[in-house]
């Protein structure tokens, strides 16, 4: 019998933004819609955080909702959380809250709050599901809001549609061809290859990454951030690929991811414009997460899961800072200096802090994760560890170059005040606390991610089938015993 949460946190987390989207859709005044959207996102974050705390207090590997209404309809546990996803739900909700909170009034007519809430609901539902077909359906559904925005903005959708269409076709065909009893010991080569190709495409691994840069060019910065930042490609790896892929398969994928990490880090250095720079920086960091995931060792996986959280928070702060600066001075060229430090010192400091955290600078959230990741990678192939370090060094150079270009180098003369608004200050303070707090006191986070890593490895070793929703995994103590 699967343990049960004390309250229906999961259903609330998914349904509140969905109902909120309907509510916000009725509101004609964009500023009022923004304020309502902030409240809805706050409530959603509270539910997701409640779920995490409740789950931790249960001390179990997985749990389903209390008063599970969907169970009555579908006769199966649709929403289930486990060690992997428990902190990812509040993280996802936080991404949306911070993005909505830092949307300035100048941008509210371009940014659709209704569709943002729909996307949040889809994301939280995806993270709450384990059934492969439901995950595939939700991942496919998540591609719709950006497409609608591209259409609404009258931009070419061809690059996006081609890639996302291919992603859905590959994923569905791979899952359809998956034989019963597939496991790492009995790997389905064709089906596994198709699923691997799909998740690599969704993760933006070279040479299938151009849709991400194209998306950043054509939709609003907020929508692009929210589509790529939750790293659902990595989530698909964990849910769909990890239970069936053999070690050599995962290591092959790690090789592609590593190439992407180095390539994207190099590309970030030659970009002329801030959004494209951000896009490549994020691609590099996200690929490092994939590298760690596919080492399939306890330390490497723990590092990857830690970097997943740290990159999400750091790159969110980094992206939101860029977005806030863009909202003030328009699209930003990196070919010249802008000297904005004296006008927005708080945003400049957050930009630097989040940038340093994303590259794993000591004392920030990313440091221990990066150490674990490199340690795990070296354990598998020493040269992989070296390339991870090289990618990190290039990213570090790119971050500082962007900081210098945007905030220093000249005196910027503004005719209006560019100072940060209070919602931005709240976002700055909250993200700074998370980055520095998590960096200075990393043990709880690492411990939690380590348990998740052990669970994933146990599932792989036991050939645990994610499709069997009711299959009970071994208890936590038993897992520890197994390791002993």
């Amino acid at each position: 019998m699967m343990p049960e949460l004390h309250y229906p946190w999961l259903e609330c987390s998914v349904l509140i933004p969905l109902l909120g989207a309907l509510w916000v859709g009725w509101i004609r005044d964009a500023d009022r819609a923004r304020r309502h959207c902030i409240v809805i996102c706050c409530v959603t974050l509270s539910c997701a955080t409640g779920e995490w705390i409740d789950f931790m207090r249960l001390g179990t590997f997985e749990a389903h909702d209390h008063w599970d209404l969907l169970h009555l309809v579908f006769h199966r546990d649709v929403f289930v959380i486990d060690e992997l996803t428990a902190p990812l739900l509040p993280l996802g909700a936080l991404l949306y809250l911070m993005t909505v909170l830092s949307t300035l009034r100048t941008k509210i007519n371009r940014f659709s709050f209704g569709w943002t809430l729909v996307a949040e609901s889809i994301l939280l539902a995806t993270l709450s599901c384990r059934s492969p077909w439901v995950v595939i359906a939700l991942l496919s559904l998540a591609t719709v809001p950006p497409w609608l925005e591209l259409r609404a903005r009258q931009r070419s959708t061809r690059v996006y549609v081609l890639h996302m269409g291919l992603f859905i076709v590959l994923l569905c065909s791979g899952q359809a061809l998956l034989p019963d009893g597939a496991s790492p010991e009995n790997p389905p080569i064709l089906a596994g290859g198709l699923i691997a190709a799909a998740v690599l495409l969704r993760s933006g691994v070279i040479p299938l990454h151009c849709w991400i840069t194209d998306l950043f060019e054509k939709v609003t910065f907020g929508t692009a951030l929210l589509f790529v930042m939750p790293m659902t490609g990595a989530y698909a790896v964990m849910r769909l690929l990890m239970p069936i892929a053999p070690n050599w398969g995962l290591q092959s994928i790690a090789l592609f991811s590593l190439m992407t990490a180095v390539y994207a880090a190099g590309m970030a250095l030659v970009q002329h414009e801030s959004r494209r720079f951000f896009c490549y920086l994020f691609l590099s960091q996200a690929s490092l997460v994939l590298v760690g995931l596919e080492t399939a060792t306890a330390i490497g996986l723990t590092g990857a899961l830690c970097v997943w959280v740290s990159v999400s928070i750091s790159m969110l702060g980094f992206g939101l800072t860029l977005r806030s600066v863009e909202a003030r001075v328009g699209r930003l060229s990196l070919d010249s200096y802008h000297g904005l430090y004296s006008h927005i010192p708080a945003l400049a400091a957050l930009f630097l802090l989040t940038g340093l955290s994303s590259i794993g600078f000591p004392g920030t959230l990313g440091f221990i994760g990066a150490e674990l990741l490199v340690e795990g990678a070296v354990g598998v192939y020493p040269v992989v560890g070296v390339l991870v370090v090289v990618a990190g060094a290039l990213n570090g150079i790119a971050v500082m170059q962007a900081y210098f270009r945007l905030f220093t180098g000249t005196e910027h003369h503004a005719s209006v005040s560019l100072a940060a608004r209070w919602p931005e200050k709240v976002a700055v303070l909250l993200l700074s606390v998370l980055i520095l707090g998590g960096g200075l006191w990393p043990q709880p986070g690492v411990q939690s991610r380590y348990h998740a890593a052990i669970e994933i490895i146990t599932r792989r070793q036991g050939g645990f089938q994610p499709s069997s929703d009711h299959a009970a995994p071994p208890a936590r103590d038993a897992t520890v015993e197994l390791r002993r």
Partner: protein
């Protein structure tokens, strides 16, 4: 209270005082409060004096009791249990020994001196508080690097020193030149950091632990013996040498040294004249048992030190500003210190480092009043200062002298050499990739796909109403 407990308290005070300073200077601006100059100065005084007194007390206890190795354990920052096949721990361990204690005391003395000087030098400067935030980062980085008992902890301090250095070079950030130079320093430091991290990982991999004890034997410095093979020692040692060369501005990374002089004089004095320029040499001294394990490595260290010393001596003679001349003079001494380390000496390079750091701090702090000092000197002797050449100048023919002059003035063309060898091919390759990606997305879109191409380089005058 036992002697062990006393040392533990003193050790924690040495580490804790700069940590508290940084925490204070970090939290105050986050709350939107700008501290007064008097408060900033008082905080620095308290932090530096308490740390210095604690370090001196430890030295006193060590001398009185004959203890030569005092480990201070702060426990594991992060630990993953090791019941299974894999485990991980980040051990916060600091070591007070005959190498680290003098270096930590030197750091406190010079940081305190420069802090007092900077308070007056930067009085009412718009970036006063920003300077002291970076100063606090630097102080903490130096103390952690000096006292680190594990290679991970040393890396932590090493990174803090690197970041504060780059940001201080770009301190006057309203002008492009300091910013460009800050970026250059950061690039060199990142290369050095990458080499250091790879060396640390390799050592960790070979010895199974990050403690220096595990790498260089249980004996107190300098008595340790490396526990790795000569072949591994050569590999690891070369990586550490690259890291040290980057940090200390040795050849071929010397190009950033004069660029670093764009920062305010107090930071130039403390970073490039006194402390951080010696950090590379300090690293080599700390891992001297690894150097001792490989003769080819020692020969390379000596060669690199000699080359840097000769280059520094030649370049310093033709610099047109005093700070650059002093920077290259520092490089000469650092090169000699590295040669001493390569020769297997331990105490002579340590004494050389301390003496040189103190002298150079004084010279750099006096640099802004150099002309006044010259005039005072000439008034005192009653004539102009002699400008006679040295014997070397007489021995070199005019054409070679002209070439050497040009070579030195251009700082050995080292920046151009590195740019041509690494930077330009790198940039060309990625620009080509960028172009290919553009063609690919244009093809898929059936139109010009990049809106970012239309972003003007000076497009930041389009301020919008952000109300």
């Amino acid at each position: 209270m036992t002697q062990r407990e006393t040392l533990q308290i003193l050790g924690v005070t040495v580490i804790g005082s700069p940590s508290a300073l940084l925490a204070l200077f970090g939290i105050i601006p986050m709350l939107g409060y700008t501290p007064s100059e008097r408060l900033v100065a008082r905080c620095i005084q308290v932090s530096v004096v308490s740390g210095l007194v604690a370090a001196l007390a430890i030295l006193g206890v060590m001398l009185a009791t004959g203890t030569r190795h005092v480990p201070i354990e702060l426990g594991n920052w992060v630990v993953i249990p090791q019941e299974g096949q894999e485990g991980f721990h980040f051990h916060l361990k600091f070591v007070f020994d005959r190498l680290s204690v003098p270096f930590a005391i030197l750091s406190f003395v010079l940081c305190g001196t420069v802090g007092a000087f900077a308070r007056i030098y930067l009085h009412r400067e718009p970036g006063f508080c920003r300077f002291f935030v970076f100063y606090a980062v630097f102080l903490l980085g130096m103390i952690i690097s000096s006292l680190a008992g594990t290679i991970e902890t040393l890396f932590l301090g090493w990174e803090l020193v690197g970041l504060s250095s780059a940001l201080l070079v770009a301190f006057f950030h309203d002008r492009p030149a300091p910013v460009r130079n800050g970026q250059r320093v950061w690039v060199v430091y990142r290369i050095a950091d990458a080499a250091f991290l790879i060396a640390a990982l390799t050592l960790h991999h070979l010895t199974g632990a990050g403690d220096f004890d595990a790498m260089i034997g249980e004996g107190a410095w300098p008595a340790g013996v490396a526990s790795i093979s000569p072949h591994h020692a050569l590999t690891v040692g070369l990586l550490l040498l690259v890291a040290a060369a980057g940090k200390s501005g040795m050849v071929p990374f010397s190009g950033w040294l004069p660029r670093a002089m764009e920062g305010p004089t107090p930071s130039s004095a403390i970073f490039y004249g006194a402390l951080s320029i010696h950090l590379g040499a300090y690293l080599l001294l700390r891992v001297s048992p690894v150097l001792a394990a490989s003769l080819p490595l020692r020969i390379i260290v000596i060669a690199m030190g000699s080359l840097s010393a000769i280059f520094g001596a030649v370049a310093s003679r033709v610099q047109t500003d005093v700070k650059s001349a002093l920077a290259f003079a520092s490089l000469t001494q650092v090169g000699i210190i590295v040669v001493e380390i390569g020769c297997g000496l331990h105490y002579i390079p340590l004494i050389h480092m301390i003496g040189h750091a103190c002298l150079r701090t004084l010279q750099l702090i006096r640099a802004p009043s150099l002309l006044k000092d010259y005039q005072a000197l000439e008034d005192a002797i009653g004539s102009r200062l002699s400008k006679n050449g040295t014997i070397w100048e007489a021995m070199i023919h005019a054409p070679q002298r002209a070439w050497l002059y040009r070579f030195s003035l251009e700082r050995g063309y080292l920046d151009g050499f590195l740019d041509e060898l690494f930077l330009r091919p790198f940039m060309r390759a990625f620009h080509w990739s960028d172009g290919m990606e553009r063609r690919w997305t244009d093809f898929l879109s059936g139109e010009a796909s990049r809106e970012s191409d239309r972003v003007a380089p000076y497009g930041d005058s389009l301020e919008q109403d952000v109300g």
